[in-house]
Each structure stands twice: as structure tokens, then as C-alpha cells.
Subunit: 262 residues, 2 copies
């Protein structure tokens, strides 16, 4: 299975332009699965929820989904893309999984970061694993990473690849991703954005450094802090099903849940 | 509070000599809390459980505890030391927390690593936090680290410092310790051993690199791979009680346990 990330610098609020950028970068690329950044068509740094709402769109038949689903079909490539979702009066920091064929999946960020708590509503969709081309995928958005329970919940459901859309501003996750991969025995593909957003006097600088990490914590591909780039690697996702990390240790069977108070 | 680790190379099976080494290295040192390696008086690499049992001793009135408790009193320094424990027919890879005054605490490694599964019995004592000089301590042994549930269970009970006795052979934990500290907002003091043990045709090489890590993932002290050394730093453990990692994020209150399946 060929998996990749697309790291780029979305322009704030310019959805159509960002969608064109994505289509142009992905043109002629070949992969089964491509992860894009969090909020990759709108940007992140909204002044308030009202402003965020003005850029949000429904998951059902929203123009971003329609555009990217067409692209997924054209490229024969599943896309995982962060987008700004409106449902009723609520605004969610969401992602959509769009396979060329089959059901589209929605996930809403469960762990909001900093001022995202003021501009988005907290997610309300459980972590679930979805089959794609025989492989089980899990989905997460940015700050979900700091909660080991998040990736653990996905891994215990059988996720082999965790597709992770990010807008990282702190330097810690590129390393922590290796730990999340090792402790769960999963592949992680995370796509971070680059550039910065200065809005309402608050500047956020995004750190790039998107990575694809193996279940043993190897970095299979990575971008630097500023590249606009697509990295694609061939992986064997079934390796994530082998939780035997030594001849005598099974990563999950050796858990002692009777001693955990979580 | 002054906390430290003692990194050294225990000689296999020579308990009295190793205890003397510990006493000699700690002579005249000043600290509130000192963490020693896993199985720091016996070594780790036993051929079978029978051999391990031959070196094991009870927690109650065992000579290692008596010796180290006297040392803790003499130095006015709490010691956390990995030791080989016998209870009935069972052999546990345990640690003891020995304050100069007050109750001694026993913990038995819950997550056994590789051939340790053949030579030790799995721990049966829940993770608990213990007060010492106004600060809450948690205890863990080596491979417990790979299970985020372990340190999480301690941190949710209020642990401010996790005292971690290790015999690391894989290179991953020195980095992962930073992640465990950050995701839980705790200090971690881990003491690893150096040297190698070749027994029954199986060689284990220990990686040293003991560290003291802050709740923000800063390395406050570290040893290299081979040093026999004591590192002591002054920390403010109450910093581990502040889980506000941004102006709007509280590390624990922002958990979404209703969405975790663990």
C-alpha cells in the first residue's frame, strides 16, 4: 500500500485557491492513501467562532467534500483532509476520509487546543476504525496526539494506520509520533502545514515536519519545516498486526487493564 | 526538593558487593530522593526462575532492605531500589521505596519484558501514589514505560514525580521518557544500569543514559551510556500539579474519557 502526506501552506480563508493547490500538487501522483493537514482549505487561526462559522460548510454535500471526492476518484486515491464543518449552530474542526469508492467518513476533533476552544465546538463522534483496501484506518486531528488514550483506542480497535491531520505549532509531536507508533505498534501518517497566520494580533507559526512512522518507530519519510511537498512510501500495513515485540511479549496481550485506573 | 539517580554497573549475583558500591557512591551525597536501577543488587539476566529464586529475598526483613534502610537513615535520603523479591514460591522483580522515616513501600513490576517472563512472576500490586515530604511519588519498573496506562494511572492519582528503576536494553526509552513526562505533566527520575550480562549464551547490553525529566519534557540531568555516576538536581515538584499547559488547556480536565475504550 502506498501512503503519503501532502504538506503545504494553505492561504487563510481562500478555500477555492487551496483546493486548486491541492489538486495541482497531487496531479499525477500515485498512492492509495494521502493525508492532508488539519483545516487545509480554510486555515486555523480564526478570531472568533462567528468568523469560523462564516468559512464552515456542512459535511453533507459541502463544496470541499464534493471537490475532494471528485479528486479522489480521478486519482484513485483516498484522501484524508481536515476541514471546517458547520452543523446547525455548531462549528467543528473535522476531517473527512474520502475513498475513491465506498463510504465517506467524518471525524470531529475531540481534543481542542488553546484558542481552538473558543472558535470550535468539541467533537462528539467516537473514535472508530474503518476498512479501506483490506486495511484498517484510524483518524485523529492534531492535539489528539497528547492523549495516549486517543491512539490507544484506535489501535485496540485494530487500526493499522493512523491518519493524522495536524496544524502543529509546538515542537514536540515529531518526536512523540515515534512513541505513539511504538507503544501501539501502528503506522502513523501525519500531515502538518507550514507557514504562519497572524490574525487579531495572535500569530501562529506552523512547524511542518510531516512524517510517516513505522510501528517500530522508524521515520519512513519526512518533510522539513517549510517544504511544500508530497512524500509517498510503500508500506506493508499488515506489519502493524504483528504485536509480538519480542519472542515473549505481545504488546496488547501483555496489558494489565485490571491495574489501570483511567 | 533534591532528586537524583545513581547509575552504575552491578555485578551479577554479588549482592553484598553491590550494596557496598551503592553505599560508597552515595557517601556524603545530599538529596531528598535517590533512584537506583532495577534489580540493582543482583543483576537481571537469570538463566531460569530457579536461579532467580536463589538470589531472591523477602521484602519483610530481607538483608537488602535492612542495609538500604540503614543507609537511607544515615544519609537522610529516601531510596528507591529495584530488588529481587521472594514470596512463597514466587519471585518478583520488585522495587522498594525506603524513606528515612515512615512507611516502606513495595511495588512489583507489572509488565515483564522478554525472558523476564520466564524468570519472574508478574506483579500483583496496584499502582499507588505515596506521600513523601509533602510530595506525591509514583513508582514503576523498566518495561512498564511502554504502557502509557501505567504512568497515566499514577499521574491521575496525583503523582508529581515518577521514580522509575530500569535495566534498559533498547534505545527507545530515553526519548519516550520525555513524552511520558509531557503527556502526564510529571517529573520522571529514571535510573538505568550500565554494563552487560552474558549468561546462558544470552547477552544483554544495558544502555545507561539515566535521566531526570521535567513536566515540560526538558532533560534536567542525564548520564551517558557508561558512566557510574550520581546526578542530583533541585526541582520544584509542585510544578507537576499545574496541568494548565496553555491558558485554555488543562491536561487532565480536557480528557474525553467517554470516548476512550481502553
Amino acid at each position: 500500500m502506498k501512503v503519503g502526506f501532502l504538506q503545504f501552506n494553505p492561504e487563510f480563508g481562500r478555500k477555492e485557491k487551496n483546493l486548486d493547490t491541492i489538486a495541482n500538487i497531487l496531479h499525477n501522483k500515485e498512492a492509495d492513501l494521502m493525508v492532508l493537514p488539519e483545516l487545509c482549505t480554510t486555515g486555523f487561526n480564526f478570531i472568533d467562532k462567528e468568523e469560523a462559522r462564516s468559512f464552515a460548510e456542512p459535511f453533507e454535500n459541502g463544496p470541499t467534500r464534493v471537490f475532494l471526492k471528485d479528486l479522489a476518484r480521478e486519482l484513485n486515491m483516498a484522501l484524508v483532509a481536515g476541514f471546517l464543518e458547520k452543523e446547525g449552530s455548531k462549528v467543528f474542526n473535522s476531517l473527512m476520509f474520502l475513498p475513491p469508492d465506498g463510504e465517506d467518513i467524518l471525524y470531529r476533533k475531540l481534543h481542542l487546543f488553546d484558542r481552538g476552544k473558543l472558535t470550535f465546538d468539541p467533537g462528539d463522534i467516537p473514535f472508530r476504525v474503518h476498512a479501506y483496501r483490506g486495511i484498517k484506518l484510524g483518524f485523529a486531528i492534531c492535539f489528539d496526539w497528547i492523549y495516549p488514550e486517543a491512539f490507544r483506542t484506535l489501535a485496540l480497535q485494530g487500526a493499522q494506520i493512523i491518519c493524522h491531520c495536524t496544524n502543529l505549532v509546538l515542537p514536540f509531536y515529531p518526536m512523540a509520533a515515534l512513541v505513539r507508533a511504538v507503544e501501539n505498534g501502528v503506522f502513523i501518517v501525519y500531515s502538518n502545514r507550514t507557514g504562519s497566520e497572524n490574525r487579531g494580533g495572535i500569530e501562529l507559526g506552523y512547524i511542518g515536519t510531516s512524517r510517516i512512522v513505522s510501528p517500530r518507530g522508524e521515520i519512513l519519510a519526512e518533510a522539513d519545516k517549510i517544504q511544500e511537498i508530497t512524500c509517498i512510501v510503500e508500506i506493508d500495513p499488515t506489519k502493524a498486526s504483528d504485536k509480538n515485540i519480542t519472542g515473549l511479549n505481545h504488546l496488547f496481550d501483555d496489558r494489565r487493564p485490571e491495574f489501570y485506573k483511567l
